[in-house]
Amino acid sequence: MIDVLIIGGGIAGIETACSLQDLGYETVIVEKERTIGGHLNNWDTLFPTHRPASEVLEYYTEETRKRALTIYLNTYVTSIIKLDDGTFEVNTSRDVIFHSKTVVIASGYSLFNAERKEEYGYKIYDNVLTSADLEKKLKTLNGEFKTPTDKVPEKIAFIHCVGSRDEKSGNHYCSKLCCVTAVKQAIHMKQICPQADIFCCYMDLRMYGPGFEEMYREAQEKYHIQFIRGRLSEVGENADGTLQLKVEDTLAARPSKIKVDMLVLMVGMESPQSTALFKETCGLQCAPNRFIQPNDHHIGSNKTNIDGLFTAGTSIGPMSIFDTINHAKASAITIKNYLSRN
């Protein structure tokens, strides 16, 4: 019987495991991918410092190595069953069944599938990318930046809130991080393509974290990025492969049309499919936004409606990396208290 089974080997899962291991508990991580680190593997730089994501990833890789954490890669959980004695049986895709005193769901988030917003042209028009695509492109950039149709961009637009705060997508909530990611990426693009005009079309700019507002100001004052408060209604492709955006500028109170070489859709965060599976197999309670419902938003955000089943990171909703790390540390303390009591 292991003390803690952690579902997910992203930053939240690794940090929870490291903290619990340091407190003397035996942990096992189950990760569906072939490597740890989750979405961070695909990220180039992090806000608000533009620090390479690889630094954080290397830190956690080293922490994992130092503690010799037990990790099952390429393994996904098929069910969580709470037994009568209060322990858990966790079934996996590998014919391995774990018995554990507690379980932590650190399975993170899925990115919104931008194809669902057909009017934005993702996977239809070549020069429409998502924020995640751009990060991958920047991560592997070698030489001059060019659009997918091999052009040095002269105009680039970022569209905020794609699949967030959007009734049509069924996502009423804010994904929190897309605003600051757009500002970060816009600055990055201006740095590597100084000739380009860059536009950000936003609903609100939710610069909630330390250093975010300053970065937003810098984007305007130093990098001359143009922020347009308004929604994109649709994208069309011109015969030359450039994109025509129809945007409502709600401050100027008029519609406008912008021709760009590349469009970046700031895709939001969604609850992963695995959460729905856990809901089904063990009666886990989810919020209307489909993320896991914390037992108490203020004083028990790591707890769920099931005793002994805990959360860490974005399985309860959108979070930045530093919020995720803090939430994972809190999860370790909460689990320690639970195991001490039981």
């Binding site: 239809i124 069309g236 011109n238």
Partner: protein
């Protein structure tokens, strides 16, 4: 551009369309603009598809244009539409096939109103009874006639004499499709795909071998806009909207435009003449303009009907270059003969558009 992804998304938005036994609600303006389109629709349904459709001589205008021009009060148009439903009920039918998108929008709007405000329905029942002693049932299925052609597009394809393919090059014809706002925007769930995923015309084009043109102003207004045209002082606005669409589609070299709204087809056709006269511009390569068809005319050409029986000679932009591309034989001398073979007066030639 990956149009397959778009097609896939669009095809997931469908509506229920009755299979047979329709009460035909004719259009007042279509009979003037495209005089053979409605008779072609009846011919296709009866002769090609063996469907039962009742073309009722007692049917009248829905008064929709009057309503949208603030001339006809809402209670009046509701009572007129209620009378149409009474005629359908008396004919023993339950499905309405509506020719005009404005009528389609009106019928849909009125049914939605009655659904939410049943007391209004009772009031209109009373008005109709007092005026005509008629009673009515609510139709089970409301379809625009383009919905019905769309539903049977594959059956029509099986009977096709011509495909939407350029016989000289073997390439699919580039077709611009345009959906009427009263069909798609008022109650998006009542049309095939609403305004965002309107497969109704693109489905026909693809089934019949054509290539649908995706261009930046695809969803832009045709330029009619009722008040933009009906109020004379606003007509520049109407022309400028059509111009925006035509300029946007021009680089894609469309072989023709097809629309499911009388206003759209009318204005995208006639304003080409106006723009040619005003600015000396045409939107095709050779100065003829881009032909604009109704979906019945397009279906009729596919089925091998005589273009002059389809009324194509009544269009502003002449269709002969398109007929040549399709490999359709026609008699130029018969173009302006009436149904008895008598020569009709020939129209004046425009100064810029070639005919």
């Amino acid at each position: 551009m990956n149009t397959e992804a778009k097609k896939q998304i669009w095809s997931s938005y469908q509506k229920e369309i009755a299979d047979n036994n329709y009460y035909y609600a004719r259009s007042c303006i279509r009979q003037n603009f495209f005089p053979a389109s409605e008779v072609t629709f009846l011919r296709i349904l009866r002769e090609e598809l063996n469907k039962n459709i009742f073309d009722d001589p007692n049917h009248t205008t829905c008064t929709g244009i009057g309503y949208h021009s603030d001339i006809v009060p809402f209670d009046t148009i509701q009572t007129v539409v209620a009378r149409h439903f009474a005629l359908m009920t008396e004919a023993g039918l339950e499905n309405v096939a509506i020719s005009c998108v404005t009528s389609f929008g009106m019928y849909t709007e009125i049914l939605d109103l009655w659904h939410h405000f049943p007391e209004q329905l009772e009031k209109i029942r009373e008005y109709l009874y007092k005026a005509t002693k008629r009673e009515f049932n609510i139709p089970k299925n409301i379809a625009h006639t383009s919905d019905i052609i769309y539903k049977f597009r594959n059956e029509i394809a099986e009977k096709a004499k011509h495909k939407l393919i350029n016989v000289q090059t073997g390439e699919p014809l580039n077709v611009v499709e345009h959906i009427g706002c009263h069909y798609a925007k008022m109650f998006p769930t009542k049309g095939v795909g609403g305004a965002e995923f309107p497969q109704v015309l693109s489905g026909m084009i693809e089934s019949w071998g054509g290539n649908v043109v995706d261009y930046p102003e695809r969803r832009h207004c045709c330029g009619f806009g009722f008040r933009n045209y009906l109020v004379q002082a606003n007509r520049g606005y109407s022309v400028s909207n059509t111009k925006k669409k035509l300029e946007s589609m021009k680089p894609y070299k469309p072989d023709f435009i097809v629309a499911n709204c009388p206003g759209c087809a009318m204005f995208m056709d006639k304003w080409q003449y106006t723009l040619a006269e005003m600015e000396g511009v045409t939107y095709d390569e050779f100065g003829y303009g881009i032909p604009v068809l109704t979906y019945e005319e397009m279906a009729g050409l596919v089925l091998g009907y005589n273009p002059w029986d389809l009324g194509l000679q009544m269009h502003q932009v002449q269709c002969e270059p398109l007929l040549d591309k399709l490999g359709i034989k026609y008699d130029p001398k018969a173009k302006y003969l009436d149904k008895n073979g008598n020569q009709m007066p020939l129209p004046e030639k425009p100064s810029c558009l070639k005919v």
